[in-house]
Amino acid sequence: MSPASIDDIEDVDPGLARERTELAWTRTAISFAAVGGALLRSHPAAGVPILALSLLIWELGRRPGKPGTGHARARHL
């Protein structure tokens, strides 16, 4: 399917699975960031690594695949 013929995002991402999964990763990253931010004031030594972890989680959730392929990067076990 060429990009010019795409007029509905559902055609390239059925069920918006990729979109919803990216949002789930973002929610998880925000959860970790919130905990890290809350800990920063009282326990900076614990808060900073958790904030860094939230950045890592956010980065992990970003998909490098081409739009329309419907596949994330391979999740091999």
């Binding site: 699975a17 990729r18 999964t21 789930a24 929610r27 959860s31 905990v35």
Partner: protein
């Protein structure tokens, strides 16, 4: 749960013992489930820490905050580990086109939270009784 047959993907039936890339939507769904369990685990850990560190002491019951908080933290750790194992098992089943196994996690989580809630209620009651004597 149902078999991992693909509704749209390039789902040629694999030969026995062979693995193939499952439909992306199943992979994504499995990943979202794992992330939801991870957030639950994080919430349990934070809840346990909050109980142990921020809650005022229970009058007459020393150590009550830790009795409630530490099991919550341990439960969070267990949920994180089990959810990863489950993601892995589900992904393997999807690749092999096998039925997904039933998850013990919801029952485990519900039972443990119920026990902790009963424990918390008992400690609160005990604290109320001893502090009014």
């Amino acid at each position: 749960m149902t078999s991992a047959a693909s509704p749209t993907g390039p789902a040629a039936t694999p030969r026995p013992g062979k693995e193939r890339e499952p439909d992306a939507r199943f992979t994504f769904a499995n990943e979202r489930t794992f992330l939801a369990w991870s957030r639950t685990a994080l919430a349990l850990v934070v809840g346990g820490l909050a109980v142990a560190q921020l809650l005022p002491p229970f009058p007459g019951v020393p150590g009550a905050r830790h009795i409630i908080g530490i099991p919550l933290i341990l439960l969070g750790a267990a949920v994180a580990v089990f959810s990863y194992a489950e993601w892995q098992a589900n992904q393997r089943a999807l690749r092999r086109d096998e039925p997904l196994r039933r998850s013990p996690l919801p029952r485990f989580l519900a039972a443990t939270i119920a026990v902790i809630a009963l424990l918390a209620a008992a400690l609160a009651l005990l604290s109320a009784v001893t502090s009014h004597r």
